[in-house]
């Protein structure tokens, strides 16, 4: 009998846990390169997809991924309206380098500074690069860790899936 009760209770609790939540994005506030506060849970792109990608100035594969994304970003934006947020996890030893690096490399993304790794922890990122795709309702629909040449094509296929759904 006890077992049954436990099962019933567990089922109820779990069915609750599985209820649809509003947004997968945590309530963490970061600064952008102009010093403006940006609350991650309130990120929106008018119902179009958002990509959040974690990187650092000292992370080789991240730089490769960013360069590759930057090369195709204009096309992706024209076709799907996707917006890329690039979250730098550089700490105080290299935060001063982030803006000169971003500008110097000519990247067009919205860059956010996660100096204290708050967002990194909240989104359970172990090692950069780590990329998330968020749909128009704030749900994480795809994520990928690491970077191999051509991984951006895979990401784009996922973007197309949710961008099409909107139409």
């Amino acid at each position: 009998m006890k077992k049954l009760m436990t099962l019933v209770l567990m089922a109820l609790v779990f069915s609750g846990l599985h209820a649809q939540s509003k947004s997968d994005l945590p309530n963490v506030t970061l600064k952008d390169l102009n010093g403006k506060d940006v609350n991650i849970s309130k990120l929106s792109n008018n119902g179009k997809p958002i990509v959040i990608t974690f990187w650092a100035t000292w992370c080789g594969p991240c730089i490769k991924e960013h360069n590759a994304l930057n090369d195709v970003y204009q096309d992706w934006q024209d076709e799907t309206g996707v917006k890329i947020y690039s979250v730098s996890i550089d700490d105080s030893r290299s935060t001063a380098k982030v803006k000169p690096t971003v500008e110097g490399k000519g990247w067009e993304f919205e860059v956010l500074l996660d100096v204290n790794s708050d967002l990194k922890r909240a989104m359970n990122v172990s090692n950069p690069p780590h990329t998330f795709l968020i749909d128009g309702n704030g749900k994480i629909v795809y994520q990928h860790t690491g970077y191999f040449e051509g991984a951006e094509d895979e990401l784009y296929e996922e973007i197309l899936k949710i961008a099409k759904k909107k139409k």
Partner: protein, 579 residues
């Protein structure tokens, strides 16, 4: 019958609970991550491993789960070191709940109890953080309050005791040298651009901040009169105008005799400043730093990176390739003068040198020297850095001739066409191994290092990557004469060559094979090959990496904090995932 009533009651209760909790659960989210790193060690006489000291296997693992619901979040992290992998501190050996926290933050007030990670300004007086790959965690277990009384104003207060491996937080155990003190700190920051409406969209940016941190420790020393309260304060300012940005922070610490500074009673100081200019296609940053007796630990007998309350950021280029990262600078908390200049430039697309995709150039130069120390009067005699005295005096802007480190490097990153991509870097290095790694009497490493990284995209899914690297020392060559007794200091010295070939099939697979060869070591028996083969499988947020081969003795550094890794041979496996 009674049982049936109980079940019904339970159902009713859970149903009402569910109804009431529906709104609560609707916004609930559970997320988390796991990682396990394991290494199986094998004997390998070729690289001098003739005894495993009874350790065949090392496993480091963690699992964390976060729960969030609107303004509320909580989490736990479980860790297991069974036993710890070679190169990690023995004190990590064990299993347990290493970290937990609960936070409520509604934008106006934020409260956290449990293990806190935070930093004030650039961390010169307070930073608690965790770095898994180093086995480093100085989380503050206690409470934190964050207040945002007006737009652009943030006030913070923290209170607690730091993590010290697995030592219990409640009772202090002086028998095991656990003299950990309590850390308390407050910080205020005012961002004028967010506060003052007229400045909201101004080209002029300004924010200021200040912090005060103190530790309360118990004097257990029989020789020294250890102060029971040690305070440190810092002030900072960030300015911006158009494409220019300037920021600086100054920190001061009262006398804090410790094992790190040889129990001197001098005050500590730190100054950091950076100036940068950036516009599309061009960015430059100049950073300077002065550190004088700024080790700040919550236990005065603390060694290495144990119980650091503050963080002194190194300002150097962080190399990530195998040979360039062999000699990585780590901060000298007792004193250093450092400067760094970095310039990033992209030769525009469509020009002769820029080609179709533009050519990315990076120049970086950094240098670190010692500060100048003058003797202080001790009774009628003069003393320099003697324990129990004021230690020394130091002129603020004087730079010692003793150079610790210099790195001049230039990188070119070029996508040639759709299929070919190359990155090449040249590095000129000066590394005082005696000071940085504590190898007494070892000659300075003066080296030229180069690498070439070529990627070829076979088709949409497959690519090949070749890395070639060389490290050539100016003085310590094959012919360099080494006394029999000094042999050990010449491990990893002399010239190196490295090659790696990687074949990857995006998005899942990567196969690589590498050889690192110390062909130019002055000691013949150290001229070893370090072969490794690695297979990586990635599926979304899951990564499995299996590698086999030899690992050379070296230093792994993240964020200027380093740990030494002994030479090893064997098989290692890393599995990580997040959900």
């Amino acid at each position: 019958m009674r049982k049936h009533i109980l079940v019904l009651l339970a159902l009713a209760l859970t149903a009402s609970f569910k109804a009431g909790a529906q709104s609560l659960l609707e916004n609930s989210q559970v997320s988390g991550s796991f990682q396990t790193d394991a290494q199986y060690y094998m004997l390998d006489e070729g690289i001098g491993i003739t005894d495993l000291n009874g350790k065949k296997l090392g496993i480091n693992g963690f699992g964390k789960v976060n729960y969030t619901n609107g303004n509320f979040s909580a989490g736990i992290r479980f860790e297991a070191f069974l036993p710890e992998m070679n190169g990690f501190r023995k004190e990590l050996n064990g299993v347990g709940l290493a970290n937990f926290f609960a936070t409520y933050d509604n934008g106006f007030i934020g409260m956290t109890v449990g293990d806190i990670y935070d930093q004030f300004g650039s961390g010169l007086v307070f930073r608690s953080y965790e770095e898994w790959s180093l086995g480093m965690d100085n989380a503050l277990r206690g409470a934190r309050v964050v207040l945002r009384p007006a737009k652009g104003v943030t006030l913070k207060g923290v209170y607690g005791r730091q993590r010290y491996f697995w030592a219990p937080y409640l009772e202090r155990n002086f028998a095991t040298d656990d003299y950990r003190g309590i850390v308390r700190g407050v910080d205020a920051e005012w961002d004028l651009n967010q506060s003052i409406t007229a400045l909201n969209d101004s080209k002029f940016k300004m924010s200021i901040g200040g912090s005060f941190v103190s530790k309360k420790q118990v004097n257990q020393s029989m020789f020294y009169n250890i102060p029971e309260n040690v305070g440190a304060a810092a002030a900072r300012i960030n300015l911006g105008y158009g494409n220019f940005a300037f920021s600086t922070e100054y920190a001061y610490k009262i006398n804090d005799p410790s094992a790190i500074n040889n129990f001197i009673y001098k005050e500590g100081q730190a100054l950091m400043a950076s100036l940068s200019y950036s516009q599309k296609g061009f960015g430059a940053v100049l950073q300077v730093k002065r550190i004088d007796n700024m080790s700040f630990k919550s236990m005065y007998t603390g060694k290495q990176n144990d119980l650091d309350i503050n963080f002194i950021p190194p300002i150097n280029y962080t190399h990530t390739h195998s040979l360039p990262s062999m000699y990585t600078y780590s901060t000298q908390p007792n004193g250093e003068m450092a400067a760094q200049l970095q310039v990033n430039y992209t030769i525009p697309k469509g020009t002769a040198l820029g080609g179709k995709y533009g050519t990315k150039l990076t120049f970086n130069m950094s240098q670190v020297n010692d500060i100048v120390r003058d003797s202080v009067k001790y009774g009628n005699a003069m003393a320099l850095n003697e324990s129990g005295t004021l230690g020394y005096t130091s002129k603020f802007f004087a730079i010692s001739d003793h150079r610790f480190f210099r790195d001049i490097n230039f990188e070119i990153d070029k996508k040639i066409n759709k299929d070919w991509h190359i990155t090449a870097q040249y590095i000129n290095l000066y590394y005082d191994i005696e000071t940085i790694e504590g190898h007494a009497g070892s000659p300075v490493v003066k080296a030229n290092i180069g690498f070439l990284d070529v990627t070829y995209k076979i088709n949409k899914k497959q690519s090949l990557r070749l890395e070639l690297q060389g490290l050539w020392e100016n003085e310590v060559h094959k012919g360099y004469e080494v006394e029999e007794s000094e042999k050990k200091d010449f491990q990893k010295r002399g010239d190196w060559a490295f090659a790696l070939l990687e074949y990857s099939i995006t998005p899942h697979w990567s196969f690589s094979f590498a050889d690192k060869w110390n062909y130019g070591n002055p000691v013949e028996e150290y001229r070893d090959h370090y072969f490794t083969g690695t297979i990586t499988y990635i599926h979304e947020a899951t990564r499995v990496m299996l590698s086999a081969g030899r690992q050379s003795e070296g230093v792994v550094c993240v964020g200027g904090v380093c740990r030494t890794v002994p030479a090893s041979s064997g098989v290692s496996l890393t599995v990580s995932t997040s959900f």
